[in-house]
C-alpha cells in the first residue's frame, strides 16, 4: 500500500505533529513536505508560531506564590463562585411537525424543548453548578438553566444568525456554528442555506430522511454524516456527501476527509453567449463585452468562437464603431468560412458597410454571392447589387 499522502492529509499531520505521529505517518509527511513547497511553508510557519508562543510570558517566583495565596484567600473570603459546567448556549428547534393535540407529549419530548444555558454567570447570582471534572450525583437543575417546553408549533422556514459555538438542532440534524454564521431553513425541503460563516453539520442516519445544505450555488445532499460547510468549501469529517451544482448535476461524491472547493462552477458557454446576446438586445454593450472578454479566455468550440466573434462585432456596431465592427465580422468570416456564423458575418459586414456608406459595401456583397451563391441571404444580396450602390 502506498504511503504517499496528499496535501490535505499532510497538513492535518503537520498540525498533529506536536501530539505525536507514528513513524509511518512521520515518514509519509516528511516525504510529502520534501516535494511540496506549499506544505513545507505551512510546516515552517506552524513551527515558527509554536516557537514564538513558547517564548510567551512567565511568572516570577513571587508571582507564583502570590496567585496561590490569593486564590486560597479569595476562596475563603468570597465563597464559591464556580460556574464551570456552563455548556455552550444551544437552542433546540428540532422535531417533526406536530399538532396541538400532541401538546402533552411534546411537553415531555426533549426534541421540541428549548433549552437555553446562559453563559454569563454574572447574571445569575447564587448560581453554583458543579465544577468540571466531578461525578457528583445528578442534582436538580441549576437555577441558571432555563428549561422551557416550547409551545407546540410547526418548524417553519426561518432565517437566523448563530453565534460561534452555538448549537441548533434542526429536524434530524445538529448544527454547530464554527464561527458567527447566518442560515436560512426551508422546512419543506429540509434544506439549510448557509448565507455566511461556517457550520458543522451532524446528520442522524437513523432518521432515514434527506437533509441538504445549500451553499455557494451548490446543494450538498447527505444521509447520516458529519461535515463542515463554509469558507468556500465543504469538508467531510465522517460519512459521505453528494454535491450538486446549480443545475442539479453531481459535481462530486465526497468521503471522509475529503474537501471540495465550492467556488461556483463556470456557467455553460452557451448560457453566457445567450446572456451576451440578451444584453446587446437591451443595448447594454459594456455588460455584453465583459462576458465576451471572459469567454475569450476559455477554450471554445469553433461554433462558439464564431458566435462570440459576431457578438463582438455587434457590440462595436452598437457603439457606432462601424469600421471595427466590419473588421470583426470579417475576422469571423476568415476564421469560420464554412460555418453558418461565417456566412451570417459576411452578410452582416456587407449590410453594415452599405448602411454606413462604406466603400467596401459592393465588394462585400459580391464576395458573399461568390462564396454563398445559394446562401440564405443570396437573393437580398443580388437585389442590393441590382439596385446599384448596394444600398
Amino acid at each position: 500500500m502506498s504511503g504517499r499522502i496528499g496535501c490535505d492529509a499532510a497538513r492535518a499531520r503537520i498540525t498533529a505533529r506536536a501530539s505525536g505521529l507514528t513513524s509511518a505517518q512521520r515518514i509519509a509527511l516528511e516525504e510529502h513536505v520534501e516535494s511540496c513547497a506549499a506544505c513545507a511553508a505551512v510546516a515552517r510557519e506552524i513551527d515558527a508560531l509554536s516557537t514564538v508562543l513558547d517564548g510567551g510570558p512567565s511568572l516570577s517566583a513571587s508571582a507564583r506564590e502570590r496567585v496561590v495565596e490569593r486564590a486560597l484567600g479569595r476562596a475563603v473570603a468570597g465563597g464559591a463562585e464556580v460556574d464551570l459546567l456552563e455548556p455552550s448556549p444551544r437552542i433546540y428547534l428540532g422535531g417533526a411537525r406536530a399538532t396541538l393535540g400532541a401538546l402533552a407529549l411534546a411537553a415531555a419530548a426533549i426534541a421540541v424543548a428549548v433549552w437555553l444555558w446562559r453563559s454569563d454567570s454574572g447574571e445569575a447570582p447564587g448560581d453554583v453548578p458543579a465544577p468540571f471534572a466531578t461525578d457528583e450525583p445528578e442534582r436538580a437543575p441549576a437555577p441558571n438553566i432555563e428549561q422551557e417546553v416550547a409551545p407546540e408549533r410547526e418548524i417553519d422556514s426561518f432565517e437566523r444568525s448563530l453565534d460561534e459555538g452555538e448549537v441548533l438542532e434542526l429536524a434530524h440534524a445538529r448544527l454547530e456554528a464554527m464561527e458567527r454564521s447566518r442560515i436560512a431553513f426551508d422546512a419543506d425541503t429540509t434544506t439549510v442555506a448557509l448565507v455566511e460563516g461556517s457550520i458543522l453539520f451532524d446528520v442522524d442516519p437513523s432518521a432515514g430522511a434527506p437533509f441538504a445544505v445549500a451553499y455557494a450555488e451548490h446543494r450538498i445532499e447527505v444521509i447520516g454524516t458529519r461535515f463542515v460547510v463554509g469558507n468556500g468549501e465543504v469538508r467531510v469529517m465522517e460519512g459521505t456527501v453528494r454535491v450538486r451544482d446549480a443545475r442539479g448535476r453531481v459535481r462530486a461524491t465526497l468521503g471522509e476527509g475529503r474537501t471540495l472547493d465550492l467556488a461556483p462552477a463556470e456557467p455553460e458557454t452557451s448560457e453566457e453567449l445567450a446572456r451576451a446576446r440578451a444584453l446587446l438586445s437591451r443595448r447594454d454593450v459594456a455588460g455584453a463585452r465583459a462576458i465576451l472578454r471572459a469567454l475569450e479566455r476559455r477554450p471554445l468550440r469553433p461554433a462558439e468562437r464564431a458566435e462570440a466573434g459576431s457578438l463582438v462585432a455587434e457590440a462595436h456596431a452598437l457603439s457606432s464603431e462601424n469600421g471595427r465592427a466590419i473588421e470583426a465580422y470579417l475576422s469571423v468570416v476568415e476564421a469560420h468560412p464554412d460555418l453558418p456564423a461565417g456566412e451570417n458575418a459576411l452578410f452582416a459586414a456587407a449590410r453594415l458597410a452599405a448602411r454606413t456608406r462604406d466603400t467596401r459595401a459592393t465588394a462585400l456583397f459580391e464576395r458573399y454571392l461568390a462564396r454563398y451563391p445559394n446562401g440564405r441571404f443570396a437573393d437580398e444580396a443580388r437585389s442590393r447589387l441590382h439596385r446599384g450602390g448596394a444600398r
Binding site: G56, R64, V67, A71, A130, A133
Partner: protein, 206 residues
C-alpha cells in the same frame, strides 16, 4: 509522587493530601496548587502576551479550583481538571476580547526596555509574540483554543475535546479551519518564520 498525580485513575482512591484538600484543608490545597502551577502556567501562557495577563488568568483559574475542590472526585488528574477550568476561562476571555476588538500591537515600553539588558532581542521577541497573538486573535475563539491546545500544546484531539467540552469531530473541524486560516495568512501575507529567522540573526549580532 505529585499529590495530584496520585489520584489520576478512576475516582476511587484519592491521595491523602487530596482528601484533605477536598475537606477544605488550605495547606493541602496549597500543596496541590503549587505542585500543579508550573504546568498550568505554561499551558495558560500560550494565550497571554504579558506577565500581568498570565498572572490574572492563573489567579482566576486557581480561585475557581479552590472553590471546586470539595466536589473533585479524581475522575481525572488535578492537572487535567485545572486545564479544563483554565480552558473555559480562556474561551470566555478570547470571546470577550473579540467582542471588544482588542488592539493588536503594542510596542515595548521604556520600562520594558530598562528591565532588560538585551533590548533589541527583547523587543524582537515582544513584537513576534504580539504578531503571533494578533494572528490567533483573528480566529474564532473555539478554533483558536482548539488549535493551540492541539497543534502547539500537543494535546491529542480527544483530550482537547474533553477540555473544551466538545466532540472529537468538532475539535478536528476547529483545528482544520484554524490551520487553514493561519496558513493562508502566514504563507500568503507575511511569514512569521522569516521574521523569527530575522530576529535570530540580529540576536546573533549579524
Amino acid at each position: 509522587v505529585s499529590p495530584s498525580r496520585a489520584n489520576a485513575t478512576g475516582g476511587g482512591d484519592l491521595s491523602p493530601v487530596l482528601e484533605r484538600a477536598r475537606a477544605g484543608d488550605r495547606a493541602a490545597q496549597a500543596e496541590i496548587l503549587r505542585a500543579e502551577l508550573p504546568a498550568l502556567e505554561r499551558f495558560l501562557s500560550r494565550f497571554c502576551r504579558r506577565p500581568s495577563e498570565l498572572e490574572d488568568l492563573v489567579q482566576r483559574t486557581l480561585v475557581r479550583a479552590v472553590s471546586g475542590f470539595g466536589s473533585f472526585r479524581g475522575e481525572s488528574s488535578v492537572g487535567t481538571w485545572l486545564a479544563r477550568i483554565g480552558t473555559r476561562l480562556v474561551m470566555d476571555d478570547v470571546r470577550a476580547s473579540r467582542r471588544r476588538g482588542t488592539a493588536h500591537l503594542r510596542l515595548a515600553t521604556e520600562q520594558d526596555r530598562a528591565a532588560h539588558e538585551d533590548v533589541e532581542r527583547r523587543i524582537d521577541a515582544r513584537r513576534l509574540l504580539d504578531r503571533a497573538h494578533a494572528l490567533l486573535e483573528e480566529l474564532p475563539a473555539a478554533q483558536r483554543v482548539a488549535f493551540v491546545l492541539h497543534a502547539i500544546e500537543g494535546r491529542p484531539v480527544a483530550e482537547v475535546a474533553a477540555l473544551m467540552g466538545s466532540s472529537s469531530v468538532t475539535t478536528r473541524a476547529r483545528v482544520f479551519w484554524a490551520r487553514r486560516r493561519l496558513a493562508a495568512r502566514l504563507v500568503g501575507e507575511g511569514s512569521l518564520a522569516d521574521a523569527l529567522a530575522g530576529a535570530g540573526t540580529r540576536e546573533d549580532g549579524s
